[in-house]
Amino acid sequence: MGFSLANIDRRVFYWILFIALMVPFLNPIGFPIKIAENTRDLYEGITGDSVEPGDVWIINFGYGVSAWSECHPGVTVCAKALLREGAHLILMGPHTDVELTYRHLLDTAKEDFDAATYGEDWVFLGYITGGESAIAQLASNMRSVYPTDHFATPLDDISMMQDVNTWHDVSGVLSSDTGDWGGYFLTMWQEAYGVPMAQIGIAMLGSTGIPRWLAGNYFGMSVGSRGGAELEMLIGEPGDAIIAMDSISVSHLLIVIAVILANVGLLLERGRGS
């Protein structure tokens, strides 16, 4: 019998996947979501006694539009949480589409940003590049890499930035990454000067980041969209991540079934062969 999964046109499976991803949005299931310890540590690190009004926090948008569904829900929750504690936010990012991400955050955390004042409660510094050198320079002299904010206003003319220029003036860093930029903040801010840092990264950074959380380099960590969903549970405001969890469940189940079927096929092949 020559039938095997490998003989089926793979486009059939792609269509199955594409349709299966959409069904849970039309018919939500609502699986419960357990909160991981690393996510809880992150949330506790940005709320309550961990944050004083007036503390300055950096949020690094280290992700582009393709990773919005993965990183943005977690960033939204953290921005909301910090603003509600009275912290001041410095928003910046190394992607050329960082302005789109900034606008998206103003939309997803609309109520909190509408209640705050630009220049007093938050500032958007915009695009940065230059790798480790840029982040190291940001720690020692912000105005050398950001003489103005994204809207060309000199930092000295922005009220919340008047006393902020080095790592001394920053209480913590939240880096949301798809790649290296969180690592630069880790080496140039957390390791060099002991600035508390947490990662709101893509799921793959969960593999490299969890050992760092265990070692105490990160005070908390949110892993991908699952972490974003957990943060939304913690703040009590369901958002895009929780909505997407059902679809993610279906897709993950499909891939595990695919792996199992492939290995059942392998066992059958070996059985036939022997």
Partner: protein, 211 residues
């Protein structure tokens, strides 16, 4: 974000929806001219955005300060332009000077910053015994300690993995495979979350689910 009402915004939304389908025509159907058109369009737009954003950034951090009196900024400006000599074969060597600065800065910063979290903190965390007396905590502690030693031995490439090294390097390889498997599991979440976002967008534009 609510469903847009302005005409140009609605047109833009639908154009984005169509462009998404043109990209998905490649895996769901086959490679076709429509997909290639969208692919080339994306590269064009991405490159242009890159150029414009980087240009404005150079103006902000270099040219404007220079015009305001910081004349030393002419040096990095010239060094940066020297990189473009890479395009001229007989003068390619000139581009080595700015690259030398980038490499030196990256290496100097890398050494001083990486040793702490990647080596020191990792080793300290591995050898720090658990504070609670729970059996599972000790099992995990031993697992991580043995695993780290065997896995590092696996990457010891100066000696052949035979004799006394054979068993620990073999065990180390198994630990590495477990780590790669977990990494694969996380990769699946990442890739499928992105796909999920597109599936959601597909339905939102059709107004089958709220935006």
């Amino acid at each position: 974000m609510a469903y847009p009402t302005a005409t140009m915004d609605v047109i833009g939304l639908w154009i984005g929806w169509v462009l998404m389908l043109t990209i998905y025509s490649y895996p769901l159907y086959k490679e076709n001219p429509v997909y290639r058109f969208s692919e080339h369009l994306y590269i064009a737009v991405m490159l242009a955005v890159n150029l414009v954003v980087n240009f404005s950034n150079v103006m902000r951090i270099c040219v404007t300060p220079m015009m305001q009196g910081d004349f030393m900024m002419i040096v990095p400006l010239i060094l940066g332009i020297m990189i473009y000599t890479m395009l001229i074969p007989e003068y390619r060597w000139v581009s080595r000077y700015p690259i030398a600065i980038l490499v030196g800065a990256g290496f100097g910063l890398g050494i001083r910053g990486s040793i702490g979290p990647n080596i020191q903190d990792a080793i300290v965390s591995t050898i720090t015994r658990p504070t609670d007396g729970v059996a599972m905590a000790w099992i995990n502690f031993l697992y991580i300690a043995v695993g780290l030693i065997c896995s590092v031995l696996y990457f010891l490439l100066t000696y052949e993995h035979s004799g006394a090294l054979q068993a620990p390097t073999r065990i180390g390889r198994l630990f590495i495979m477990v780590a790669l498997g977990a990494y694969f599991g996380n990769t699946v979440l990442f890739r499928f979350t992105m796909l999920t976002g597109r599936a959601q967008f597909f339905l939102q534009v059709l107004k089958l689910i709220p935006m």
